[in-house]
Amino acid sequence: MKKQQRLVMRTVILLVLLAAIGYTIYTNFFTEKTAVAVGSTAPDFVLTDLKGHEHRLSDYRGKGVFLNFWGTWCKPCEREMPYMNELYPIYKKQGVEILAVNVGEPKLSVEKFAERFGLTFPIVIDRQDQVLNAYNVGPLPTTFLIDKNGEVKQIITGTMTKDDIQRHLESIKP
């Protein structure tokens, strides 16, 4: 009887300790990378595009959103831009929007870049890094796939091929 108690006691103490360690390791290594986790609601934001139109993320409810963070100096970002541009009109018709967030560069630089590649999807500039902070974006490019309910489906860091982008756009069709 007493032995039974002791075993239960030891098991409980060990489990508590294991839970504490597990939690510490988990929060340190599996949650830190982005503030916005897969499965959570994408934080709302308002940013102005090159033409002066305001884009509010919550206005896109009901549509999929391909949210791409980029900079003009970032070569991997540059490589995927033409593919995004090519697929944009096709998927726009199917209810998926592409929104490119520039990380606070001069409007002039962004405009020249957009002109050079003939980009047609809306490009907004995050002048004060507020959206960057809210999404805790580290390396560029980082892409958030947001479904029609505003939920983050996937977070992709690094450059994508045309096939990748197509697959991702397909995955968030409403």
Binding site: L7, R10, T24
Partner: protein, 552 residues
């Protein structure tokens, strides 16, 4: 496992070295003259039950050897972590894989590949610390509970074999046992011993609480570790860096967009001869005038956002307060603290150029380009106009030989201007970088002459919020209390018993035998009772004597 019943009637748990109540040795001690008094001979649980997996894990962590090994491994790892700088201290734009190899050669490469570049945040380091925590908890539990039991159940009357196997032990013949006992009892009480009496036998005890010192100390350590663990819980601990240039208003990172900061001015002051107190003159002479930093200060205005937080939207701000942040004088608000930690002086902010005729040197107006948000077109009047075709804040030629920018920071700005003049209606293109002008389409009539650089200072601030600090404080305080408790008090016990008409005295202390002997001497002075002999010392002497004899 069965309990062991001692001849005194007390039932002891299996594994007990000597009876909890009367002290009679339960195991066969053979020739060993002295009892091992550690943990009062109690049965450490882990040593006796090893049946299930859980028991085996428990036994593993309850070993002090394992605990010490974990600590040593952690110490060695920590030492290695200081050989080369940690990743957070290398230049932020450097690629760590390259940096370590370049700076420290093959050793650096190995260092990086083994993950020592981010040692103190690595999973295995944290795991080591966590295992030390587990070891602490289990070691303590495994010892303190039986020890508490043993000390609580100890009887006054001890078995003669317990007494004679104590380190301090003596037998005396006294004429009046009753009187001597009474005198001793009174003297012991005077020396603040807690005296218990049973059948004419005495047990005097003091400072028992000193025995709990190590465990109190461990509780403090465990609280400290819990505090450290809580740092990884979101919201408990924030440690962010914020770079803010003079004149700008920025969101304070870590506040979820609720607070904004405006930097009015960054001030860097040094000690100067003539201006400062004369006592500093010698030091100023030694180091140089204006070489010793006196003050780093950022004058800021703190704003709170009113209304809902939508990132990117122009915030409605409400002024909270103005404050000069200086080293060690942080701006504190809402449990946050902003510390002055770094600065960059004279960061380029805007560049001015004059449109000039290359031949005559005549100028036609000044163009000022904001390096953070340049305008596209600059009208100088009288038909003179400049257009900015391209802008590279951090200019370099990329792999294909095209001009490009390395980052968005204007470290090395370069521009492509198109200059229009009444006599050049189609415009001339000029590529302008620092100390360098390229005219891609042949010889131009006009040029953009550098006319000045506007700079500003940038402050580096640390944003800190720490809800774990008080836990660490409490843990640290308990740690110290435990340490003091265990170090400055001794647990002393003196047994005085009548055995066959003789007076037997035995004494034990957990430390400071010298002090106990002095106390005993004073206690027995003039009572006719002999000072108990130190059996351990006698034994040592005998051993040394024998050796000396052997080698002679």
């Amino acid at each position: 496992m069965e309990h062991v019943k001692c001849e005194c009637g007390h039932v002891n748990p299996h594994g007990t070295a000597f009876c909890e109540s009367c002290g009679k040795p339960l195991a066969d001690l053979g020739e060993k003259p002295l009892l091992d008094m550690r943990y009062e001979g109690s049965a450490r649980r882990s040593q006796t039950y090893k049946k299930t997996m859980i028991d085996q894990i428990w036994a593993f962590f309850s070993s002090v050897k394992v605990g010490v090994a974990l600590i040593v491994i952690t110490l060695i790892a920590s030492v290695i972590g200081t050989i080369f700088p940690q990743q957070m201290y290398i230049p932020p734009n450097a690629d760590p894989a390259e940096y370590y190899k370049q700076q420290y050669g093959w050793a650096g490469k190995l260092y990086y590949e083994l993950g020592f570049n981010n040692l103190y945040g690595s999973w295995w380091y944290i795991l080591l610390i966590a295992l030390i925590g587990v070891s602490l908890v289990i070691c303590s539990l495994d010892r303190v509970i039986p020890l508490y039991r043993a000390l609580k159940r100890q009887g006054v009357k001890r078995h003669p074999r317990f007494l004679e196997r104590q380190r301090l032990f003596g037998v005396s013949h006294v004429s009046d046992l009753d009187k001597t006992m009474a005198v001793l009892k009174e003297r012991l009480a005077k020396r603040r011993y807690h005296v218990r009496e049973e059948d004419g036998h005495l047990l005097a005890e003091k400072g028992r609480f000193s025995r709990w010192g190590p465990y109190v100390n461990h509780i403090g350590l465990i609280i400290f570790l819990i505090g450290a663990m809580l740092r990884s819980v979101p919201g408990m601990y924030i440690d962010r860096v914020m770079w803010i240039p003079e004149g700008e208003t920025k969101e304070i990172p870590g506040t979820n967009g609720r607070y904004f900061l405006k930097s009015e001015k960054f001030i860097f002051e040094t000690y100067e001869k003539g201006k400062d107190n004369e006592v500093f003159n010698a030091a100023i002479d030694r180091v140089g005038n204006g070489m010793i930093a006196k003050n780093y200060q950022t004058n800021v205005v703190l704003y709170k956002r009113v209304g809902p937080v939508i990132p990117g939207a122009k915030p409605k701000l409400e002024k909270v307060k103005e404050y000069p942040i200086r080293v060690n004088e942080p701006l504190e608000f809402d449990h946050y603290a902003l510390y002055q930690v770094d600065f960059r002086l004279n960061e380029p902010k805007a560049m001015s150029f004059q449109l000039a005729d290359k031949q005559s040197g005549k100028t036609f107006g000044t163009v000022t380009v904001d390096l953070y948000d340049p305008k596209e077109s600059y009208n100088l009047g009288h038909g003179y106009r400049v257009e900015l075709l391209s802008y590279f804040p951090d200019f370099e030629f990329d792999e294909d030989g095209n001009p490009s920018t390395k980052s968005r920071v204007p470290n090395n700005p370069a521009f492509v201007f198109k200059m229009y003049a009444p006599d050049r209606p189609k415009g001339e293109v000029s590529f302008v970088a620092i100390q360098q002008t390229i005219e891609p389409f042949g010889n131009n009539k006009y040029k953009m002459a550098f006319a000045g650089l506007q700079t500003r200072n940038v402050s580096g601030l640390t944003v800190r919020r720490d809800f774990t600090l008080w836990i660490l404080g409490v843990g640290g305080a308990i740690f110290m209390i435990g340490l003091i408790q265990g170090m400055y008090w001794n647990h002393r016990r003196i047994w005085v018993q009548r055995v066959n008409g003789e007076l037997w005295i035995a004494a034990h202390t957990n430390k400071n035998w010298f002090g106990l002997k002095n106390e005993l001497r004073r206690l027995l002075d003039g009572t006719g009772v002999m000072m108990p002999a130190d059996q351990l010392e006698n034994e040592k002497k005998a051993g040394q004597g024998g050796q000396a004899h052997g080698t002679a």
